[in-house]
Symmetry: C2
Subunit: 371 residues, 2 copies
């Protein structure tokens, strides 16, 4: 492990599906596909780990089917690493009629209204069936800003759930004969520094091989997100990976890494791509804008991706104007490459102890304008 | 040129953008993109020529823009050959309030209702601006079955338009200094053999470098399509390419080729793909069908495409069920490969004089079931 003056760390995560250089950004492959990218394209882009959503895969096609077909790697023909979330976040954000009790979360599917109960054990069971390299515990996600008593209760429940999930997962992993599958704990505590610390301390008792920081970047100021992340990482064992869930914007990535974060995921590069927002080394390009009608430059003259090597902004703009599927393919390809490139640049900056400067540079480029 | 006992011909079409083995199938790239395929993918698939739609490109992004950006090849970053249609067929099938006079076709855009006049000269001018390797004359498309007097009038007008289009195109091509761009005539005549022959004879006077058979495969019985194609090709000069527009189903391709056809295009492989209909060496696979839920075989065990090498039917089915863009990408890739493979097999069968047998085999595999 190599550390930067900021406290940022470079390291390697060794999974059954490859060694991953950290800090790492994980493209989101919600329903066992990164929208608009083939697995060949992901390999070409150099993605070493992707995230898949347990909630979506549980509802469709179902984890038992995926288990039967050899697990998620075999199902989607992806040879590199996969992290699955617990399903909790989607239950809280997508499903209807959710009801949280100590037992778990009862909810109705957003697809067909069918009723389900997601417990810490169930979330672990699903992920054992999926066979992801990294599974996440079920945590209680609360709306923010949250009153202190609500945040306290969520921390308490998250710890209880983590305890049950850990026990269930370790037994299940042993049965699977696959101790290489990891399970990470998730630190909650909303925006209360002491609750964050308390949550972290409680989870440390379960000896997770990695820890996530959950419930952040959900509307609070960026500085507060960074502060909470720093509170948590300062307590976590140095040799274990730390994952900040659901972040972030390009100009924020270095800030999180400077707080000791190793792993991140976000739908932003892929979702923005489908909405014609392209990231470049000179800032955002909203490619539907009329100013690009005759623009014969590549999306990003400084990008080496196969899209920038071949196509012009004028062509991309036309594809979006015409509502062509190819627009989503090309834009997603470029944006994912952009995020992976930023991470590569961050890792390099860290090698030379220049992360703080690079973070400033990123902010200058992207902090203005839409996400 | 190599001929089969059926009268089918193998040949080579030398364009400014590569040499194409005929008979050839041209994937349809309506709006300067083959829907859901990148140009890299088209190259991987070995497509040597694609078709683009003049009507769509004229309306959006506009032929003057494409001219300014260096022509269609540069605009869409496609280095191989392109054939553009005249726009007539889409005017007749997509636009509103169309009115045909000797001058041309007046119509309203299906996009925004704006009014336009497509004349033989205009269709040629647009295609000169696009710089396709092969341009088509504007012909009058009529509904079939057509009364004889309507078909007669359409033949007469098609010839008059061809005369004007030829003159305009040759002058324009000379101005462009690009005599390598070809313009093909289009034989009309509905399902009247004598009108087809008459139309062909009249067009021969304009000495087109290639001839198309238009207005077929629009609902009439397949045998009649074949008969009309044969009537026309029997009159055409042997050394010039013949193109049957808008065909066809996999089981029909060899039949047309047996009537002396060299070039074909059809939206079927790409459109069917987006509707979850996959072609295989064992017939059609309607991949959304529940029977494929656990099917771990590739789409087609006998296919060597990158999709069949990597993914299972179960995965494809899941992607379609989830409405994922990746479903369209993978399915289109496979179906285009399937069509190009069929053409390769047809060319090989011809080398050995076995086309008639191969045509029977194709019919046995695909004639049942939906398109």
């Amino acid at each position: 492990m190599h550390t930067d003056p900021t406290g940022a760390r470079r390291g390697k995560l060794t999974t059954p599906h490859g060694v991953i250089e950290t800090p790492v950004f994980m493209p989101v492959g919600t329903a066992a596909t990164v929208k608009a990218l083939t697995q060949d394209a992901l390999e070409e882009l150099g993605a070493g780990i992707i995230l898949a959503n347990t909630y979506h895969l549980y509802l469709r096609p179902g984890h038992e089917l995926i288990r039967k077909l050899g697990g998620l790697h075999a199902f989607m023909a992806w040879r590199k690493a996969i992290l699955t979330d617990s399903g909790g976040y989607q239950v809280f954000s997508l499903s209807e009629l959710r009801k949280v009790t100590d037992e778990g979360v009862r909810f109705r599917s957003h697809l067909n209204g069918s009723e389900h109960l997601l417990t810490p054990e169930k979330a672990a069971e699903i992920q054992l069936a999926l066979g992801s390299d990294i599974a996440m515990v079920l945590d209680e996600c609360i709306e923010t800003p949250a009153p202190r008593n609500v945040a306290e209760a969520a921390v308490r429940r998250t710890t209880e759930w983590a305890s049950r999930a850990r026990k269930f997962f370790l037994q299940g992993a042993q049965r699977n004969g696959d101790p290489a599958q990891w399970q990470f704990g998730i630190v909650q505590g909303a925006t209360f520094a002491d609750l964050r610390r308390e949550s972290a301390r409680q989870l440390l008792e379960f000896d997770f091989p990695g820890y996530a920081v959950g419930g952040l970047a959900v509307g609070e100021p960026h500085e507060l997100t960074c502060e909470m992340a720093a509170e948590v990482t300062s307590l976590l064992p140095e040799e274990r990976p730390r994952y900040l869930m659901g972040v972030g914007r390009p100009e924020q990535l270095a800030d999180y890494i400077a707080r000791g974060i190793d792993m991140m995921d976000c739908v932003l590069p892929t979702r923005a791509a489908r909405h014609a927002c392209l990231y470049t080394s000179e800032g955002r390009v909203l490619i539907k804008n009329a100013r690009y009608i005759e623009d014969q430059r590549p999306i990003d003259p400084n990008c080496g991706c196969s899209v920038c090597k071949r196509y012009t902004r004028a062509y991309l703009r036309h594809l979006f104007a015409a509502g062509e599927i190819t627009a989503a393919i090309l834009a997603t390809h470029h944006n994912v490459r952009f995020y992976l490139d930023i991470m590569g640049q961050i890792r390099e900056a860290m090698t030379f102890g220049h992360l703080a400067n690079f973070a400033l540079e990123l902010r200058a480029r992207y902090a203005a304008g839409p996400a």
